[in-house]
């Protein structure tokens, strides 16, 4: 708590170990702005798992890959609206959440059922059950849990990619995992 107040008083965030403009993603964004498509590919490989996880936590799996592509195309078209190059991770996460919300405006939620009816083997069914349980958690927990358990990212990586503080990611992971275990019926 005291350390949090200290950082607040100094106007810094704990994730800001290095200035935003010297981060590798900031340099990549600079290159993309000049029309470098290879830099865009690197940026995609760096942030696509994070965007995929955020969308997977909300949207039926069949639609996830298409929406990931839409997120990056939209980001590419609107790159001039990004003010701070180093904040591209948080910016992409916001676009991903908005695209997921747009999806539900466009289509009805009954498509989720069609996804489940296509399952054939038992292990997939169990995986879908776990994923459905994660999706039933609050937004802050389900996003972090998907990034950790599905995408295989560590806590610090989640914080770095999404722009959240490591403390909040750690809290969300711990509480989300506790909630998930309760819902899955695993003894704590």
């Amino acid at each position: 708590m005291t350390s949090d107040l200290f950082f607040l008083a100094r106007g810094e965030t704990k994730t800001a170990a290095a200035p935003l403009f010297t981060r590798p993603e900031a340099l990549l964004v600079d290159r993309v702005r000049t029309g470098d498509k290879e830099a865009f590919g690197e940026l995609y490989r760096m942030f696509a798992p994070m965007v995929h996880g955020i969308i997977l936590a909300r949207v039926p799996r069949d639609e996830v890959d298409d929406i990931v592509q839409e997120v990056f195309i939209s980001a590419y078209k609107n790159l001039q609206t990004l003010r701070e190059n180093g904040a591209v991770g948080g910016w992409l996460a916001t676009i991903a959440r908005n695209q997921a919300a747009d999806f539900f405006r466009r289509v009805k939620q009954t498509e989720e059922l069609s996804e489940n009816t296509q399952l054939d083997d038992g292990s997939k069914t169990k995986a879908h059950e776990i994923l459905a349980t994660i999706r039933s958690c609050p937004d802050a927990y389900k996003e972090t849990l998907v990034l950790r358990l599905v995408e295989g990212m560590t806590g610090p990586e989640i914080a770095e990619r999404t722009g959240l503080t490591p403390e909040s990611v750690r809290v969300n992971l711990h509480r989300g995992m506790k909630l998930l275990r309760q819902k899955l019926g695993i003894e704590v």
């Binding site: 590419y76 169990k126 950790r148 995408e151 295989g152 610090p156 992971l173």
Partner: protein, 185 residues
């Protein structure tokens, strides 16, 4: 539950590892970025049109026009109906001015007169002033006035003498003055 494994994958936790293995099937796998437009178009920053400012300006202009129209109509000589009544009532005595309208040049007040420049003269001495006053009085006074003036001056002289005596008595010089003429006599 091993919190350290959950946080940064140090150590082991069979339960979390089992969940990871189950959910691995959903992991992101596509490495190819989406196809981009052939031509890179760097869009200029959009200028947002501020509807609020425009609306405020229009409303303000409309309010000014309405206010000026109301003021113009409330003047009886400008209102079409009231004007006829006003002309009827005052046609014998009053010449009705025709107003040029609300947007014409307003009638200005006459300019203020310039302040007069006062030439300051230094005060004259008592002697010159007395000469001037007596000269004026001698020129203008009638005989009756001159008689009254002489009487007044005599009374003033007597009064001043009496006052001088009182002053001398207060200062203790009355004995010397009164005694001195007696000794001379």
């Amino acid at each position: 539950m091993n919190d350290e494994y959950l946080w940064n994958k140090t150590g082991t936790d069979a339960e979390i590892e089992g969940l990871e293995n189950e959910l691995k099937a959903f992991r992101f796998s596509a490495d190819q970025p989406p196809g981009l437009p052939a031509r890179i178009e760097v869009l200029p920053e959009k200028r947002t049109f501020n509807f609020f400012k425009l609306g405020f300006a229009v409303a303000f202009a409309a309010a000014v026009v309405v206010a000026m129209t109301l003021i113009w109509l409330r003047t009886p000589v400008n209102h079409p109906e009231k004007r006829s009544e006003f002309v009827k009532n005052n046609s014998e005595n009053v010449a009705v001015p025709i107003s040029p309208g609300p947007f014409s040049t307003p009638i200005m007040d006459p300019p203020m007169p310039k302040p007069k420049v006062i030439n300051f003269k230094p005060p004259t001495t008592n002697a010159t002033r007395a000469v001037k006053i007596t000269a004026k009085k001698e020129e203008k006074l009638t005989p009756e006035e001159k008689h009254a003036y002489d009487q007044l001056m005599t009374a003033l002289a007597i009064t001043s003498n009496e006052l001088k005596l009182v002053k001398d008595k207060i200062n203790g010089r009355d004995v010397e003055r009164t005694a001195a003429p007696d000794r001379q006599k």
